[in-house]
Structure formats: structure tokens, C-alpha cells
Amino acid sequence: MLKNITLGQYFPGDSFIHRLDPRTKLLATVALIAIVFVAQGFSGFLLIAAFVVACAASTGIHLKFLVRGLKPIMFIIIFTFVLNLFFQTEGRELVHWGFIRITDQGLRMASFMAMRLILLVVSSQLLTLTTSPIALTDGLESLFRPLEVIHFPAHEIAMMMSIALRFIPTLMDEADKIMKAQKARGANFETGNLIQRAKAMVPLLVPLFVGAFRRAEDLALAMDARCYRGGAGRTRMKQLKFGVIDAIAAVAMLLLLAGVIALNKLNLF
């Protein structure tokens, strides 16, 4: 039951996007999100959508993974669509039925919002699907390093994230073991109402927490023994390096931004 939880959703591969420096991918995702908000017309959205679909296709990741990622936020998309549809009352009237009044402006705004949300989710998914959690952590650490001047704990946060990633499978195994042990003693995790089931989790969580604290203590000792003393003066075996492909990606993002701005100016549709 606990075995099938996958960590993040990294999809290993060797495509152009897979090989990009994690920092490039992080920055490009932020840029893409900004560009989504720059677009003012359908033509702009179409261009961005075409770009995202092309990126997705180049990674070799099956479309169903991207669509699956949209499911949890489907409700939000529909909700904002409907809200925008009904409450934007300016513009030419299309439908008037009782208190419901739909205008062309409303329809336009609502579609824009829905498309923005979809593009946001799909593009950030492309990031997590093509970047391993550890590369993502390294990228974040390196991007936030300049903020250490103002005492932002970039190294500590990255270290915590990677230790968490390291121990999730270990703790899962432990939870599984404890659960079996409790079941063998007659515990029941599967039936009953919500409150009963939540209560049944207590004998699982208490030993799990105690175990986690013990592990944390051991790990701290082991890190001390290997001369760990924070981020200062630390080097890394794997250096992040920007390469030619990162430059290509940067140019592609700039071209996309230019294209969207041009389409805004042309005001096609």
C-alpha cells in the first residue's frame, strides 16, 4: 500500500530538456510563467501552447502524464472559468437567461484564465518530470546562493531537502513494517469511519516519529564524524555548468517572449 507512492514524478530520459542545467530549467519555467501573463490575445496563447507542446513532445514523455497532472486542479480551472464567465458583465451580450448573462468579454476573460492555469501547470510539470529531485535541489541551492549575503539559509534548506528525499523511502519501509506489526497484533487500519481510522493511525505514527528522531540523532552524529560544519568552505563533486544547450534554451525563451509581444502589438485575435 505504501510502496506505490512515487517520489516527485521524475521521468528519466536523455532529451534536450533532460540534459539542460537544472538552473536553466528553473529559470526558464519562471520565465515561461511570466510570458503566460504577458500574452494578451488568443494568438499569443496559441504560440505559447505550441511551444510547450513542442517541448513536451521533445522529452519523449507520454502525454497522459501531463494530462494526469491536470486532474487535481481541474476543479479550480472550471471554477475560475465559470466565475469569470458569469461575473464579467461588460461587452456584447451573448446569452441572457434568467439571472445568467454571458458576454463576449466574459467568455474571452474566462478562456484566458483557464488557458493560463493549464499552461502554468503543464510547464511546471515539464520541469519536475525532466529533472531529478536531487538535481532540482542542487539547482535551487545554487540559484539562491547569492541571497546568503542577506543570511538566507540556501545551503541549509537544500541540505534539509536532500536529507528528506534520502529518508522518505527509509521511513516508508519503516511505516510498512510497523503497520504489519500492528496488524499482526489485531490493529485495524482499513474499516470504520474517518475518525476511527484517524485514531487507528496513532499506534502507527507514534513509533514512526520516535524512530525518525532516533535516526535524526544518528545521522547528525555521522555527519559530524565526516567533518560536516555547514555550507561555508564546502565544495561539490558535481559542479553545475552552463553549456551550449543552455544558451540555446535561453535564446528560445527570448524568441518566445518576442513572439508573444509582437502578437500582442499586432492584436490579431
Binding site: I134, S162, R215, A222, R234, M237
Partner: protein, 277 residues
């Protein structure tokens, strides 16, 4: 006489709030290149003593000099830990990262070693413990024995003069146990690394160059494993076992069979028995 690499003088250690000393006036020298086993039951102070060797704990009395340094401040502790690596009991709780080779690099990264040098030393260390093919694997996929070998590689990459194994085989299956012990033995013989092997397994202790038995924070017996185990009565009184074959020899002697005191292997037993008239 070889150089002394660890000099413990009248070392005491008391945990905060405890009424008794966990380590009680221990004086012990370890020679460079020696394979020393420390044997004792739970609570005998052997693990605490191990932490004193690595400056993870500082003695509350007496002194510990490791590789010429008596740690007084944080920088000294750091130096001591550089020359004296440690492999712990629980294989899961000492691996820091999600990829084997990155874990191996952890210590060197902490020391600020240049990246190219880390790379070559990590490859070398993984090769030395026979884990090269798992360099990219996730530690959670490895067996206990393999995880311990990764932990040894992580220590080895830092090129220590001493490695302390603090009950590193206690949580392993027999195959993993044999594996890790053989690895420590090989590092001792081939690389000349001083090994302090802390254990409660007689069979492992019997294979060391020298054996120290701890009880109640003190050194109860010391010497070559052969001569220590020959004092079968005293060892049993300390709540420890002796290797099966020695127990047999002891029982036979009690029944009046004239056997030498220092039989340790089945072979020696067979030879001794055949020489009886």
C-alpha cells in the same frame, strides 16, 4: 616498535546527569597499523570510548591523543575526525544523500576538496570496497552489507589513518558481516590503516591482532585474543561468551584432558587431540 597513533591516558567520560562513569580511567595505546578489537557487552562503555577516539565526545577527565593531536577546540576536533574515520552501527542512519557516489563524496565536500580530486578519490574508494557498479544507485536499494561498504567508502575517500568500526556488523546478516569484516581486514593489511573494531561478536574479536575486553567502563582484560580467551573463566564471568571451540577445550580440560591453553581453531583442536596419548 611502531609509532603509537592513539594514546588514551586515564580517560574518563560521564554523560550529563549520569551517576556513574561511562568510561572509567581507561589507559590504552594503539600502534599504527594495528587491528585492535574492543569487546564488551551492552553498556560496557565500548561505544562511548569509540566516540572519544573521534572527538565526537570529549573526555571529562584524562586525555586522548589521536595522530598527534589532543583535541582542545573545534578546529582540533575537525583535524582528529579527518584522520580518524568512523563507521557506525545502523547502515541506514549514516548515509546522507540519495546517490551512492554522492554520499561517498560527502566527507570530501565538507573538507573543501577540489571537485576533480573528489571525483578521482570517490571512484578509487568505491572501487576499493567493490561498489563501483553501484555508484549511481540509490542507497535504499542496497542490502545492509552493501550500505556498510558504501559507508566505509565514504570514510576511505577521506584517506584516514584510523577507521573505527562501532559495531558495524551488529545489524547485518552473516554474509554481510563476514564481508565487512574481511574488508576491514584487507584495508588494514593492504593500506596499513589502523583499525579499531568494536563488537560483541567473539568470532570477530578472535581474529584481531589484539583484544581489549571492557566491562563497566574499564578495561577488564587485554592482550592477544588467544591469551584473553584462554582465561575462559574470567571471560565467562564478564557476561561474555568465548568461541565454541575454546569452550569445548575448556570443558575438556575441566574433565582432566590435558590440552594446551590457547586452542582457538578446529584445526588446532584436532592436532592437539591427536597428540594425546
Amino acid at each position: 616498535m611502531k609509532n603509537t597513533i592513539i594514546e588514551a591516558r586515564d580517560v574518563c567520560f560521564k554523560y550529563e546527569g549520569a551517576s556513574t562513569l561511562a568510561v572509567d580511567h581507561v589507559t590504552l595505546d594503539v600502534a599504527e597499523g594495528e587491528f585492535l578489537a574492543i569487546l564488551g557487552r551492552n553498556g560496557s562503555g565500548k561505544s562511548t570510548f569509540a566516540k572519544l577516539l573521534n572527538a565526537l565526545q570529549l573526555p571529562t577527565g584524562g586525555s586522548v591523543k589521536v595522530n598527534g593531536i589532543t583535541p582542545a577546540n573545534e578546529d582540533d576536533c575537525y583535524e582528529v575526525r579527518k584522520s580518524c574515520g568512523m563507521v557506525f552501527q545502523n547502515p541506514d542512519n549514516q548515509i546522507v544523500t540519495t546517490i551512492v557516489e554522492e554520499d561517498c563524496a560527502f566527507g570530501l565536500e565538507n573538507l573543501g576538496t577540489p571537485p576533480q580530486e573528489i571525483r578521482s578519490r570517490v571512484d578509487e574508494a568505491l572501487h576499493s570496497v567493490g561498489m563501483s557498479e553501484f555508484a549511481q544507485a540509490s542507497p535504499s536499494m542496497l542490502s545492509g552489507g552493501q550500505k556498510q561498504r558504501v559507508a566505509v567508502a565514504g570514510v576511505l575517500a577521506m584517506r584516514p589513518r584510523i577507521i573505527v568500526f562501532d559495531e558495524s556488523t551488529a545489524m547485518l546478516d552473516p554474509i554481510g558481516r563476514r564481508d565487512v569484516f574481511a574488508l576491514a581486514r584487507r584495508l588494514n593489511v593492504e593500506e596499513g590503516i589502523t583499525i579499531v573494531w568494536i563488537t560483541h561478536f567473539m568470532e570477530e574479536a578472535a581474529m584481531a591482532d589484539r583484544l581489549v575486553v571492557m566491562d563497566g567502563g574499564r578495561i577488564a582484560l587485554e592482550g592477544e585474543p588467544r591469551s584473553v580467551f584462554a582465561q575462559t573463566d574470567r571471560v565467562l564471568k564478564l557476561g561474555l561468551d568465548v568461541p565454541e571451540i575454546m569452550k569445548l577445550a575448556h570443558m575438556l580440560r575441566e574433565r582432566g584432558v590435558a590440552l594446551p591453553d590457547d586452542i582457538m581453531t578446529v584445526n588446532e583442536m584436532a592436532v592437539a587431540l591427536c597428540q594425546l596419548k
